[in-house]
Symmetry: C2
Subunit: 543 residues, 2 copies
């Protein structure tokens, strides 16, 4: 054989770490005058966005941020949030975009576990800062006064975002990753245990998933992207980086409201958006008057649950083309796609809805999606019946969990990422989820750990035994329902226990119903969650 | 800082070597029934193509091909050529696609230097085999009887392609690269020295350039791609892999003929093609009757020289959208693109032609394109005047030259790939070539080494001194012209020397003109090629 190895090593000329930072740089070079960000009356070009991101990187470096330093942000989908997706990694730092729906205890857990040094925080969340500062006195808090945010906000940060940027001394002081395997982001997810796990993304995965988004959607240059999907969810499924790569427009959005979104879609000729099922449903069911005047085609991605038939039908009528995708925080958001085939056009809407309800196939740049029998890692029969666990492998899988080698090893056992979702595979290769093996409840696009909710319920002095399960809900997808056994000598009302939960949990995690009674257990005393799910369904259908 | 490194290493679940092989696999999984290849009456699906590529890989492994073993092919743009682009790397081997326009000496050089073990050869080139076998008796020659190739061909190979495939015992016996840095292809290029250099591509670069092609062209799924560009040129600029990634159709083409191409474009609704300027010109200048009935838009890429104004105007009238791209064999084909801006629509055709004549900007997935003063590696002034050498860096740059560490190091000096092309940069960042620092002549899309031609001329017993330079030619882009000093006591006619050249050189390398006389030299005796280029221009304009 010929020697294709000697003298042919990597060097600065023929190898560059893959990183989405470069998508911003190249777009600024080629399309510097094109609009990057629309927010209220703000129109910001890619040239200006690149300048501001370099300022952010430089300013962060001036306060000591370097490789592997965590910079957290608590921001809605504002211009500062887009800028942070480039400026933070350009400082060498790791972006930790916090879920703004968490309660302050949850936020503090993430900040402490992630060892955040700097926090960019929107004024909407000013009230959290004193409590956070009590726990983390050295945290450098940068106050972000968004132009569409609260007005007349008192000073609460160590610095203010625009002042912070303006203080950047050298906008050339920013860095490429040394290695594409370096961390770019840290995203906390509720898993099977109560404490969120810190999912670490690397530059390579972020760069590749950003391209994968382009491929799945046939996204031509200059898309107009509406930010209905929170950027704190898997970095907005990496779309901040995708839109930079395509020189598109980011239409920012502090908060989802159907009328506002429809107005933005009409005014800016929005071409693409991503969202949880509840958001699509709200758009589909908006009054006709609000939808009027939207004459162009729009493409949407939905994940978290399949789009119901009624929503799909409304969407088709609006010329909104909705694709069902599937993934987890651990896979940078969706990395499977229910590829729609031409032939499906000829099906009835209900048949088409059931085809589209499936989770689908691996994305173009994900190496594998398979359903395995967990016990022996053999692939299930592709008959739509044989159940197994859905598993991914490839470049769109996280680096691992921060400071949690055990959970990381478990997640990657046998060379596949274990999703915890149980399902089947059909003859055409498409997979479909049938159940969850992990105790996660997905409500309005947010993960809720049933164990975290159980922990809170258990702490009530009158509770002896408790279990929380998901029941499906038309509006939220799923909601938590709690089953509770009261101590023999105690008494407790549903209202009292709900109040207790509201005190100790973020609002979206509070059970929608509490059902008192003895819990069904196995012979070994293990609570039968399967049985509880059945009971919960019965109970809630009677509400 | 948080520890983002420990316990977060690569593993089989979260890292897969980038390789274009996976584009075929995934497309076969999702779009197995779609047409992959059209050739005469042949319609071959992606499912079938994947099967045949696995057969090819398995059959190659059965004859001993493994990692780093070279499999050469001497094929026009036929189905076997497409299959070789997957089947060979799937065997672990390295694909060496030979230039079918080389003479047999040139072919033997490449086969020997590349240490080829197997050669797939189209029956059109059967006559070369005895000579090749004399030099390489152990070379395993597989005869390819293409369905549109010569008929009634005698047996000349050790095996025949279809028999070879049919003998594959285990179609699961194919391999992923161990490392994305592993070689995937070997492409011989004429450089500054007479002997071709073996440019080595790796899986990573091939995979990334295939995606880059999609991005530059906004290529949606299911393109219909006409193979006007030889696949032996930089693996068809990696488009075999691109079309697989997009589940497109490969419309094969043994030989370029304007009428045939226009017929294929009409019949199959071809959406994309790439070609040298001469091919575009031939399409543009075809009789109107031949163009009639092509009502759809077509996108074309041109490299090697800027499209002349007249061609551009004709093309625009045909609704053919031509983009000028730039690159070298060392950069997997084009990795710079003259991105056209909306505003250019308002320019006159001549102004637009001059904007489009520039080589442009780095491609989306190439890390850098810069013009440097060679002596101190400072960037030129972006004023359209200051001259320097064009240099690339990034993931779309070769692994290096095979068995030539010196040339590799020289090419990669200072962390940039030196193109040898001299040019300028404009205020908008676009670069333009003004001269070549290397002695390469690009004629009809083929590289000719002026030194190789000089060597042949020198060998004629009557020649004392010789120099070969490029002059521009309306049809071929450039053609070689030779300047010759005859020995004092000898005599030689132009015809006699041309005959000599035809005997020792591939037809396209033979000088178009020979000019006798004393060669202009510097004080140190170095031939002044610059002066010769001026003289050649004068002479040829008088032809």
């Amino acid at each position: 054989m010929a020697d294709f190895d000697t003298g042919l090593a990597r060097n600065a000329a023929n190898h560059a770490p893959l990183t989405p930072i470069d998508y911003l740089k190249r777009t600024a070079e080629v399309y510097g005058d094109k609009t990057a960000i629309i927010h209220g009356h703000l129109r910001q070009t890619w040239g200006k966005t690149y300048d501001r991101c370099r300022q952010l990187a430089s300013a962060l470096r001036q306060v000591g941020i370097g490789r592997n330093d965590t910079v957290a942000v608590l921001l809605p989908n504002t211009p500062a949030m887009i800028e942070a997706h480039f400026g933070v990694p350009m400082s060498g730092g790791v972006l930790c975009a916090l879920n703004i729906r968490l309660d302050v205890e949850g936020l503090i857990f993430c900040l402490q576990h992630g060892e955040a040094k700097v926090l960019l925080v929107d004024s909407e969340f000013a009230a959290y800062i004193p409590r956070i500062k009590t726990h983390m006195p050295t945290l450098n808090v940068i106050q972000v006064n968004d132009l569409l945010g609260p007005v007349d906000v008192a000073h609460y940060g160590d610095d203010e975002y625009e002042h912070f940027l303006a203080r950047a001394r050298n906008t050339d002081d920013w860095v490429w990753p040394d290695d594409e395997w370096d961390a770019i982001a840290l995203n906390y997810t509720s898993g099977t245990t109560g404490n969120p796990k810190g999912v670490v993304y690397h530059h390579r995965g972020a760069a590749i998933n950003a391209l994968s988004n382009i491929l799945e959607w046939d996204m031509a240059k200059f898309p107009v992207y509406l930010w209905t999907l929170p950027l704190f969810h898997c970095n907005g499924w990496c779309f901040a980086w995708t839109i930079a790569a395509r020189a598109g427009v980011n239409v920012c959005l502090r908060k989802f409201e159907p009328k506002l979104c429809l107005d933005l879609i009409r005014e800016h000729q929005v071409s693409h958006y991503c969202a949880a099922p509840i958001v699509h449903a709200a758009l589909a069911h908006a009054p006709e008057a609000q939808k009027a005047g939207i004459e162009h085609s729009v493409k949407g991605l939905v994940a978290g649950a399949a789009p119901p038939e009624a929503v799909l039908a409304s969407m088709e009528q609006m010329d909104f083309d909705i694709t069902h995708v599937y993934g987890l925080t651990e896979t940078y958001g969706p990395s499977a796609v229910c590829v729609a085939h031409e032939e499906w056009h000829d099906l009835s809407i209900s048949e088409r809805a059931s085809m589209k309800a499936r989770q689908g196939m691996r994305g173009s740049l994900q190496a594998g999606l398979q359903v395995f029998h967990e016990e022996n890692m053999t692939a299930v029969c592709a008959d739509g019946e044989d159940m197994g666990e859905l598993m991914f492998r490839g470049n769109i899988v996280m680096k691992g969990y921060l400071k949690n080698p055990e959970a990381t090893q478990k997640a990657f056992a046998d060379g596949w990422f274990h999703t915890g979702d149980l399902g089947v595979q059909y003859a055409d290769g498409y997979v479909q989820i049938k159940d969850r093996s992990k105790d996660i409840i997905i409500s309005g696009g947010e993960n809720i750990s049933s164990i975290e909710v159980e922990d809170v319920v258990y702490k009530h002095p009158a509770v002896m035994n408790a279990a929380v399960v998901a029941v499906s809900d038309e509006k939220w997808g799923e909601v938590p329902v709690a089953f509770v056994e009261i101590k023999p000598d105690a008494s407790l009302t549903e209202q009292a226990l709900l109040d207790w939960c509201r005190e100790h949990l973020a609002r979206f995690k509070v059970p929608k119903k509490i059902i008192f009674g003895e819990l069904p257990k196995t012979a070994t005393g293990k609570i039968q969650k399967f049985e509880l799910r059945r009971l919960a369904k019965e109970h809630t259908s009677r509400i």
